[in-house]
């Protein structure tokens, strides 16, 4: 969408190449692998979003790319040109914790301009003001301290600081999740325009597939430390191939269309314990399509079409699932609908308010 660069599958040198990355935390009682054999490339000027629930390993992946978590095996290559110092910047989720509470924000922004120096000389104030303007903040903000700013303003300050460091690769951890929906759109647009102006490469991790869909070129989906699907954002969203991706998209709360009775597919269960993951496919314990093969063999990422290596999925049965007449509303669904949604495993229906009232024999409120 925003970049003209070919999505990073083999054309030229990618900005980031993650190959067979494995990151483990060896706690004394419960050692676990948070990122397990993950490989993907990020092209120069591209935005790749990694989507996953909490505990999927997405933040660990981001930390590994930033060099903050040492890989147990595999590696991360970053081609940013020139000295690497400062060229990779992380914008953390909690802008509140990422800013120095005692410094006026212009000093925080100017800090990367003069590394290894405790005090920020006054002459950098002008540069800081320019950066503030670039992220859409007025000059009056410069002398405030972080607690005097709103959450959205703070997040903009952290972005300005990343720009001050002349970052080439920016890693964003849940950049908009803490904001009100009304503010998310403008923040995302700001990220896009900054990317265009500075030719930045973004890796975004988020649990919110809807928010990042607007800015990402490609999207990867992580489940229980594994990358289960990756591809161009439009294809992953319109033709999700992995049952987990389908469930994730279906679970996004949408403004209900008052005319249609909108069935919402609810997937039961929760992600597995990473210190003791299920054998084979890790999603099989929640998957309505799981077979014996899914328990026996670990699925690997494979292209969804022979002529199209961009969209890849790690599922033994994706072709059968895609061939089902309504793969998003499967036969299992209608069976489950007859049962009680709360107690049965697998997938259940929830109907709209009108449907439930009809089931109770009541009339609607209008």
């Amino acid at each position: 969408m925003t970049a003209s660069v070919t999505p990073g599958t083999g054309h030229g040198a990618p900005a980031v190449r993650v190959s067979h990355l494995r990151v483990s935390y060896d706690g004394r009682r419960r050692p676990l692998t948070a990122v397990d054999d993950v490989s993907f490339d990020v092209g120069i000027g591209e935005t790749v979003a990694v989507i996953g629930e909490s505990g999927s390993g997405k933040s660990t992946l981001l930390r590994a790319i930033a060099g903050l978590a040492p890989p147990a095996s595999g590696h991360v290559e970053i081609a940013v040109g020139g000295s690497a110092s400062g060229r990779v910047q992380v914008v953390f989720q909690d802008a509140d914790l990422a800013l120095d509470p005692r410094q006026p924000v212009w000093k925080t922004i100017a800090e990367p301009l003069i590394p290894r120096q405790l005090r920020v000389p006054k002459q950098f104030r002008d540069t800081a003001m320019d950066l503030l303007r670039e992220v859409g903040l007025g000059a009056e903000v410069a002398d405030r301290r972080p607690h005097q700013l709103s959450g959205g303003q703070r997040q903009r300050v952290t972005i300005a600081r990343a720009l001050a460091a002349r970052a080439v690769l920016v890693l964003l951890d849940e950049p908009v999740s803490a904001q009100d929906v009304t503010l998310q759109a403008s923040l995302l647009r700001l990220l896009s325009s900054i990317q265009r102006q500075h030719g930045l490469t973004y890796v975004i991790v988020s649990h919110d597939i809807a928010a990042v869909a607007r800015v990402a070129d490609r999207v990867g989906v992580m489940y229980a430390a594994k990358l289960v699907e990756i591809g161009p954002v439009s294809r992953v969203l319109s033709e999700p191939r992995h049952p987990y991706t389908q469930a994730l998209i279906d679970a996004v709360p949408r403004i209900a269309d008052h005319s249609a009775e909108m069935p919402q597919r609810v997937i039961e269960g929760e992600p597995p314990d990473l210190s003791n993951p299920p054998s084979g496919c890790r999603f099989r314990t929640r998957c309505p399509f799981a077979t014996d093969q899914c328990a026996a063999e670990v699925p690997v990422l494979q292209a969804c079409a022979s002529d199209d290596a961009d969209h890849q999925v790690a599922c033994h049965r994706w072709q059968e699932i895609a061939a089902l007449p309504h793969s998003r509303l499967t036969p299992q669904l209608s069976q489950a609908a007859a049962r009680s949604p709360a107690n049965e495993p697998g997938i259940a229906f929830s109907r709209t308010r009108e449907g439930q009232q009809a089931a109770r024999g009541e009339s609607g409120p209008s």
Partner: protein, 351 residues
């Protein structure tokens, strides 16, 4: 009232099912009337009025700082120290603003259940969760330990926890966020309340778990004829499960209407803007079809804007919007606080 005194009497050990059957059908579960709340001279809630009927699920929406959580806390009588409160809050006929502390204690957790955003911080980390539910039951109902334990086990099963027995003995840190929220729901339901206040019950949860919890809340409300006030910033969740929507902005109720009418023809520009920014575009790269968005920051109740508090951000503002605070007026069965509501046609898409 009958409902309140009924809560004190022992009932069957199962405790399950709709609350006291003797309650008068015409008394709404919750009536907030002209509620104003000031802390240190700052008016945080101004003339908030809303009603939740029996068995109704009402969504209370607004951005952060709009006063929706404070409204929920006021209903339970949990206002900040030194707050000045005027107006009335009647839960099943009992005025919570004037009730004696002992009555309030019986109402909280008895007639009114509450679910908070962060389930883990609402649970005692040092006690097994089953014990915490049993304690609530015993605080409100005359029951033996064994009966309370059986009730807690049954509740844990009803909120969809896979193995109630092992959950009963688990500490909060051993359960996931979604499971903790189910425990909170079980605890809120323990004494058969007539009203449930759920403050951002799914915001801290993952999206797949969020859908489970919302579905659970709706089915519980239906089964027990429970009234629910769902406080959330997520209008999408509200449109999926609630019967009516009440919108707050800067300490005021600006709009109240049925969900169907909010979706087809919202009568306040702020509700319309929330709807538009909440419309999820998952189609991906089909042009720059980003939804309409709301510029600016939410107004602060410390320095509320003159006139209509929303007018500095409103795309339809006129000079007269800044002149006087609009009254909340009835419109098509709902209510709106907008002087232009008769002229604006805020359908889906563009006005």
């Amino acid at each position: 009232m009958t409902a309140q005194s009924a809560g004190r009497h022992p009932r069957a050990p199962t405790l399950i099912g709709p609350g006291p059957g003797a309650r008068a059908a015409e008394t709404p579960a919750l009536v907030v009337d002209g509620l104003s709340l000031a802390v240190d001279g700052v008016t945080l809630l101004s003339d908030v009025s809303l009603t939740v009927s029996r068995g109704e699920m009402v969504g209370l929406v607004g951005e952060s700082g709009s006063g929706k959580t404070l409204t929920g806390l006021s209903i339970l009588g949990l206002v900040p120290h030194g707050a000045r409160l005027t107006g009335s809050i009647r839960v099943a006929g009992v005025d919570m603003t004037t009730a004696a502390p002992a009555v309030l204690r019986q109402m909280r957790g008895g007639q009114v259940g509450m679910i908070f955003q962060e389930p883990r911080s609402s649970l005692n980390p040092a006690l097994p969760v089953g014990r915490q539910i049993a304690d609530v039951v015993r605080a409100h109902l005359d029951m033996s330990r064994g009966q309370a334990r059986a009730a807690a086990l049954s509740l844990l099963g009803q909120v969809g926890l896979p193995s109630p027995r092992s959950c009963f003995a688990a500490y909060p840190h051993e359960l996931s966020g979604g499971m903790c929220q189910r425990v909170m729901i079980a605890m809120a339901l323990a004494c058969g309340p007539s009203l449930l206040i759920a403050d951002e019950p799914t915001t801290a949860l993952d999206v797949t778990v969020q859908a489970q919890i919302i579905t659970l809340l709706r089915s519980i409300a239906d089964e027990r004829d429970l009234s629910v006030l769902l406080i959330t910033h997520n209008l999408a969740v509200v449109t999926q499960v609630c019967d009516r929507v009440v919108t707050m902005y800067c300490g005021q109720v600006v709009n109240a209407d049925t969900t169907a009418r909010v979706l087809s023809a919202p009568s306040h520009p702020y509700t319309w803007a929330l709807l538009e920014s909440g419309r999820v575009k998952l189609a991906g790269a089909d042009g720059d079809s980003s939804p309409a968005e709301l510029a600016g920051q939410p107004a602060s109740p410390v320095h509320p804007p003159q006139g209509c508090r929303f007018h500095p951000r409103c795309p339809f503002a006129e000079p007269r919007c800044a002149a006087a605070v609009p009254e909340i007026t009835p419109v098509n069965g709902g209510q709106t606080r907008c002087v232009r509501h008769g002229e604006l046609l805020l359908g889906a898409g563009q006005p």
